[in-house]
Symmetry: C2
Subunit: 335 residues, 2 copies
């Protein structure tokens, strides 16, 4: 570099690092939707200690991995998982294409619209509905269908798109982690292909950082000879409970330093995270706010949080987040 270019170079440097400075200034409180308390303190303490080179808990940038469950941890999962709502609402569309389904169970019950009867559908019935609505089409067709549905479908309680029922405090945590060099991943029991459709836009998590329940695809060619991938009814990864650490190994290949969940489906992911060396952060969102969101725990079929899980959390030093006490606001649309 020649000496006379220095002033220009200095100017360019100043411009180049301005975003970084702005970000630093904006970070006076990186978690404005959190009340002061042990949960907020644990998050900030973890990020500070693992990014401070002089701290024994320092984590090198390339190893900074944080994993988040989705349903019930970063968005609403009651009264039913959003993806299941998608599958149920796809059935009438499917029945138009294949009228023979109208007389076949469990599709007949779903088409009746009888919610009481639908609530009684067995696990096997539900699997039939999932297989019919999540497989058989090309990957591109599926993406387009989900995208279109998300644009118009609304949650029955808030009358808003499902993608607005995202927990603002958790978005702040994800952002704080990313600003500090962490790669944020979803590790969800939900369908990997389903979550990938909106994860980047809604959460800032790119498709390649979504680990979820995954089925196989089949490579082939359409009539014009163009390559395509078709979604097959073949389960490769059931990304729930023990499947979560297994999925993390398959898709990431590194142990997370921080893991967030909200139910018995996340227990093994938190155990696996904690089993690593150095500083680790394990947190569970507890739904104890029936007024602003929902209050549920051991008895809920969706997002079960048993007493045994609470006991394990206390014994192992996992931090339980009280939605009621720790979150100043829950959704971005709240005043």
């Amino acid at each position: 570099m020649k000496r006379q270019t220095a002033p220009l170079a200095m100017f360019l440097m100043a411009v180049a690092v301005m975003p970084a400075i702005s970000a630093a200034l904006a970070q006076t409180d990186p978690l404005p939707s959190w009340n002061d308390g042990p949960a907020k303190k644990a998050i900030i303490g973890f990020v500070q200690s693992t990014t401070d080179k002089s701290n024994p808990k320092f984590v090198p940038p390339e190893a900074r991995i944080a994993t988040f469950d989705q349903d019930g941890t970063t968005w609403v999962e009651q009264p039913m998982y959003t993806q299941v709502m998608y599958c149920l609402e796809r059935v009438p569309v499917l029945a138009k294409e294949k009228p023979e389904l109208k007389e076949v169970e469990p599709f007949k019950t779903v088409l009746s619209g009888n919610r009481e009867a639908m609530a009684k559908l067995s696990k096997k019935d539900l699997e039939k509905i999932l297989a019919a609505t999540l497989t058989g089409m090309t990957v591109d067709e599926f993406n387009a269908e989900v995208k279109k549905w998300l644009e118009t479908a609304k949650d029955p309680r808030w009358k808003r798109p499902y993608t607005e029922l995202v927990y603002q405090p958790m978005l702040e945590v994800m952002k704080l982690f990313r600003v500090n060099g962490y790669k944020t991943y979803f590790v969800t029991g939900g369908g990997q292909d389903f979550v990938r459709v909106y994860s980047e836009q809604v959460y800032g998590i790119p498709p390649e950082q979504v680990v979820g329940t995954a089925g196989g695809t089949k490579y082939g060619y359409d009539r014009s000879g163009k390559p395509m991938l078709t979604k097959e009814p073949k389960l490769l990864l059931n990304d729930d409970k023990a499947g979560k650490p297994e999925g993390i190994h398959l898709m990431i290949g590194r142990r997370p330093y921080a893991a967030f969940g909200n139910s018995i489906g996340d227990k093994q992911m938190l155990e696996y995270t904690q089993a690593g060396d150095g500083g680790r952060l394990m947190m569970l969102v507890h739904h104890d706010d029936g007024k602003r969101e929902y209050a549920y725990g051991p008895k809920s079929k969706v997002g079960t949080f048993t007493d045994a899980l609470m006991a394990e959390a206390k014994q192992k030093g996992w931090v339980v987040i009280s939605m009621k006490n720790d979150w100043k606001r829950i959704f971005a649309f709240e005043q």
Copy 2:
């Protein structure tokens, strides 16, 4: 920021951006190990056009994905895949732990050291050897075993560690892509867990960007109650041929913009890459340099490059890299 801190801030800025400036200066020729020719021109042209906002082929940074086959594309695969060498050399270690194997085929043949007999082993025999040496242990044990082997094992021709038999021109391509915002992925028929052990150190590709043939793991606890993952003899992804686009969808969820291979195992990955919109780059390394490396093609069992693949490449505009003509040097250790 207070005004009087400006000089210090400017100094810090200067320090912060120096690496970027050095990198830019060093980039006069980003591919110094390549001879001028159509292959080098195609790579540089692709990177320039897809990172130039005013070009119709511009690719937004988050979508910049480039995939590389490993064996034969970024390192030597003859006379036998490195991972197979690992498995064969593990057999004596295994036989020490389980002496009963000494009398059982195909282990007996491997232990005999009779290379002629070993070359005649069937695919089924080989699968038995792979299952015995690649599964049954914990993920941590496997990583430690591979790491230890790589430190001492040597290629029979060059008498060097396998991790030095890496193609310098391809390292330069990977670096050029990364400097331009591309995420570089391995998409290899080799074992995902095997390649992850050294991919970051040798190629700058982190474990989470290695897509390979993958088996299942099983979550459990050791005697002290510590969580562990055990490698199971259950194939989840055969990441070869049609399995490559399937693996790309499973692990990345985005279509690559550039793909590099060297054999019929890469055909579908290149087709799938080309089937996307906009500018795409498909390249095949052709082993035509028997003097500096190896010359092989249609008749080789390892890294088969058929006449049909060559015809498809020509017809579809895939660029064939001649090791003999396009590469100035092959290995970093050459003068």
